[in-house]
């Protein structure tokens, strides 16, 4: 894949930073092209985040900051998502493994769904958080619920339930664990001895 891919909407420079806007459908293809093509070789994903602008007409942008480590070049890739449509973009976890938690954070804070992500769950807020996506501009600063309801929901949470086997890096060692530990993990109990 050496042909320059379609889908680049605009290429521009701001404050000395090179930026390209890419359509959502082409985003993954362009990012893969940038990573794999000789002469580009953006092999390091510095950051993956999103921006919701106060102007409701402006699209929400998913931002990829790329760096080519040996070329010492930076590139910012912006993917505008129309807010009247479902916010969906293809996942890049298989291109840069470090995108895993970054995409989960963008999903948690902005509600962008990353198609093909292996484990798209909330990462900062707890799994049962029901108020929405806090960094969206239509989200009130203090949240949707009353403070009493927020406190009630927070106190009802089970602090041990936030960690999966994968996060605890136990998945591979699971078979070697003692019987009682395996039983506890299977029952969803973590962090204390019954």
């Amino acid at each position: 894949m050496t042909e320059r891919p379609d889908g680049v909407l605009r290429a521009w420079t701001s404050c000395g930073d090179e930026i390209i806007d890419v359509s959502p459908a082409a985003a993954r293809g362009v990012l893969q092209w940038l990573r794999d093509t000789p002469g580009q070789e953006f092999n390091y994903l510095v950051d993956l985040t999103a921006v919701d602008y106060r102007d409701p007409e402006r699209p929400l942008e998913v931002v990829y900051n790329l760096r080519s480590l040996h070329r010492r070049a930076d590139l910012r890739v912006k993917v505008p998502l129309d807010k009247s449509q479902p916010l969906v973009v293809d996942s890049v976890v298989d291109l840069w493994k470090g995108a895993d938690w970054l995409e989960r954070e963008v999903y948690d804070m902005f509600g962008v769904t990353f198609r093909g992500h292996p484990d798209l769950r909330r990462i900062l807020m707890w799994d049962t958080y029901a108020e929405g996506h806090p960094l969206r501009k239509d989200f009130p600063l203090r949240g949707h619920f009353t403070r009493a309801e927020q406190t009630r929901q927070a106190l009802a949470a089970n602090p041990e339930a936030h960690y999966s086997l994968e996060e605890l890096s136990l998945a591979e060692a699971y078979a070697e664990l003692p019987e009682d530990v395996r039983k506890r993990l299977a029952a969803g109990q973590r962090g204390f001895v019954p």
Binding site: D138, F139, L141, R142, Q150, T151, A157, P159
Partner: protein
């Protein structure tokens, strides 16, 4: 562990002495017990932010918390007397804080150290507990952002003064404020009232 408020009739006075009007024996016993308790407070430090740095300074040599019988930081709630919440508490940490408080045996006291623990401070946002008194009962609030070690020591001395005024005859002092069937230990409207924005944060919300 299911924690709910026990029925009223099944909670007898904790000691034989409860319910007795103060007399010579009980007041002298109170003096002895309170003297011992107030001078051997073991803190359970719950440091979540910059207040914890000041707390560490308070515990270190220059300010020397050991002078107040707080030689030993109790990192197990089972052996702690005073819960010191030093720093901001997000809602995600609220059940952890509540569980540590529930695990502490009586007698126990709570110091809310700093603006964030006492009121939410500058963090009047969707993710922050607006004062830990919505989660656990608090005895002493220490203002400051963060309080200087002298401020915390003053708060601790106030708590010692409070302990010296306690009496064994008053069983309500040792009451456990457990979560009720609503999952809160205060009425919801009380929590809303405590969490009301105040000062500059009244006008800080631009969206909504």
């Amino acid at each position: 562990m299911e924690l709910t408020r026990p029925p009223e009739e099944s909670s007898p006075p904790p000691a034989e002495i409860a319910g007795v009007s103060p007399n010579f024996i009980t007041t002298k016993l109170d003096f002895l017990v309170n003297w011992a308790r107030s001078n051997s407070l073991w803190p359970m430090p719950f440091g979540t932010a910059c207040c914890a740095i000041e707390f560490m300074a308070t515990a270190a040599g220059r300010f020397d918390l050991a002078r107040f019988g707080m030689e030993r930081m109790s990192f197990s709630p089972r052996q702690a007397d005073v819960f010191i919440c030093a720093g901001r508490v997000p809602f995600k940490l609220a059940p952890v804080l509540r569980r540590i408080w529930d695990q502490m045996p009586q007698p126990k006291w709570c110091i809310s150290m700093g603006a964030c623990a006492s009121s939410g401070g500058i963090f009047d946002t969707y993710s922050m507990v607006q004062g830990i008194d919505t989660v656990v009962p608090v005895d002493v609030y220490v203002p400051g952002c963060p309080p200087r070690p002298e401020g915390l020591i003053y708060g601790i001395m106030l708590l010692q003064k409070k302990i010296k005024g306690e009496t064994l005859a008053d069983s309500s002092l040792r009451q456990e404020y457990l979560l009720d069937e609503r999952g809160l230990f205060l009425p919801p409207d009380k929590i809303d009232e405590i969490s009301e924005p105040f000062g500059n944060s009244v006008h800080q919300t631009r969206s909504a």
